[in-house]
Symmetry: C2
Subunit: 335 residues, 2 copies
């Protein structure tokens, strides 16, 4: 959040949610989100394409909301990572977007990194860029199911696996803002499943939607439907994935003495209730001094958690109380 | 550190370093450490035995230093964990001390936990208890090789494996002060090596001195000597251990975006220089956005790092500058 002093002239704020699959832009004022637009993330052309797409989507969101684009001077960004810095400015070095560093080699570009901050700073006075799971975590701490929980994590189980981490009430950033890439923790040396980062047998390689699809040759939705209907092969694959995911949550709990995980992402959104006992049996049967009382929950902000997280990064400090009371994101969710 | 106001009457401070193998007590004044005594950690009798031993060792250290015990009212403790709380007071639930929770079952007691804080508070006005690796980390940040490094970790590779973690300049504690138990991160499901906590295939089970000895049926010192002399079986065991240790450092780097690790403990102390290339080849060949520039180092405080860490927890705030300039621990190291 920005202090109200520094942004008292901002009537509108923008939010960007940049993922490996889709990009969303959202415009809000004090009353709540006004409009949201979404598109598949640009992956062709020059390395400037994603940042230029971000600008265009913000313009589209402004047009949809009836807000003059030139009045928007403040943007919060929740983005997939990792980040690197060049001349002090954040660039995305995300293997899901940049073909030059993706070791799986199916992306239609050879980008090594995407100049995000450089482009946004040409157009906006205030730009705050955070890892998408860190932004989601701030939203859940402000408005959702992590209010008042000082030792907590946001986890996404979706196309990829990411974490936002908070210990002792302190959001973890790290030397380049890349804390939370625990989806790349190595879990076994006995797997041929490869992650976009090149690792074999990391959490993402073992459980992400992308990898489940690659290994089973059918979309995760089909795989889960079959497993839940009793298909033994599908059930074995999912049980294995739930095991690794539970072990990843245990590893993070052991390392950080976490109290509560909020889990988002498409896979948990659709199947979390069914997966939870399998995940908990790996997490809470170990090291009771650390795992006793650890709980899992879905995001209070539902599928808008990273969008609202992006807005929260740049929100004037007198807005959140009103938003907490009125929950204005619900309107957007229903529209 | 305590503010000078709260301890301006303390001429002397005590430090306790409680490990699964040995316990050390140290007494210091503004000029530096005055005396240190050490014994094998008590593991028989009632669950009060370790805390009573701690008191006795502090008395012995006072006697050795010519300090009246009754003038000691402030004690810092660096202890193996994990910790649990009963009536708000810290008890050690350490599988290396408490036979009732050790799943390997060779300890001569059935303690579930050790009432440490309760006993110490009966005798001292100020008691600060931290995980030993967290205390070591504060010492290295104050006096050693982590000065000015905001994203860093202290790791011990010894009988067990423990971490102290610092991100964005913030020391991580967690809901019960147990952050840093990353030695219990699960690394494989293909190992029969069991940790004292019950886990199979966690970092400690795979690489700790205790487990190397159990698996190879000879003390780590012999195993390392044989390996370094070219014994192929010994070399294979150590190469495997170095692989898992390097992967554990990678996992912590991925989760927390760490910049520098200081590695202590007997194994690294004696063999770190030889192990480092093997460890680095697992750490720095992955995910360059996170691992580029990550470095390893030995403790600047050498084998006294946890003792000085215990003292630093309760040190009046005007002492560290003097200690940094004069390095008074060197005298103790040489004595």
């Amino acid at each position: 959040m920005l202090s109200s002093k520094s942004t008292q002239s901002s009537l509108f704020i923008g939010g960007l949610d940049i993922g490996g699959t889709k990009m969303a832009a959202i415009v809000a004022d004090r009353s709540g989100p006004l409009a949201r637009v979404v598109e598949p993330t640009a992956k062709t052309g020059t390395e400037y394409a994603p940042a230029e797409q971000a600008l265009r989507l913000l313009k589209d969101a402004c047009a949809k909301a009836g807000v003059p684009f030139e009045e928007l001077d403040t943007v919060g960004v929740s983005s997939c990572g990792p980040f690197i810095r060049q001349q002090g400015k954040i660039r995305l070095a995300a293997p899901n977007i940049c073909g030059g560093i993706a070791r799986r080699g199916e992306l239609p570009n050879d980008w090594m990194s995407v100049p995000l901050e450089e482009v946004l700073r040409r157009h906006f006075v205030q730009v705050v860029i955070r890892n998408d799971c860190v932004a989601a975590l701030t939203a859940e701490r402000a408005f959702g199911n992590l209010q008042g929980v000082d030792d907590c994590a946001y986890v996404t189980w979706s196309t990829g696996i990411g974490f936002g981490l908070c210990v002792d009430g302190h959001l973890l950033h790290g030397k380049n803002g890349n804390a939370g890439h625990a989806g790349h923790m190595l879990m076994t040396d006995q797997s041929s499943a490869q992650c976009g980062c090149g690792n074999y047998g990391d959490v993402e390689a073992l459980v992400s939607g992308y990898n489940l699809e690659a290994r089973c040759d059918r979309p995760p939705a089909e795989l889960f439907d079959a497993a839940r209907a009793g298909d033994p092969q599908g059930r074995a694959v999912i049980a294995e994935a739930a095991k690794w995911f539970g072990r990843a949550l245990f590893n993070v709990t052991a390392a950080l003495d976490i109290e509560r995980f909020v889990i988002g992402g498409a896979i948990w959104h659709h199947h979390g209730e069914w997966l939870e006992p399998m995940v908990m049996s790996e997490l809470c049967t170990r090291l009771p001094a650390l795992t006793n009382g650890v709980s899992l929950s879905s995001p209070g902000l539902d599928s808008l958690v990273t969008d609202i997280g992006a807005l929260h990064l740049v929100m004037p400090e007198d807005w959140p109380n009103e938003w907490r009371a009125r929950k204005p994101w619900q309107q957007l969710q229903e529209s």
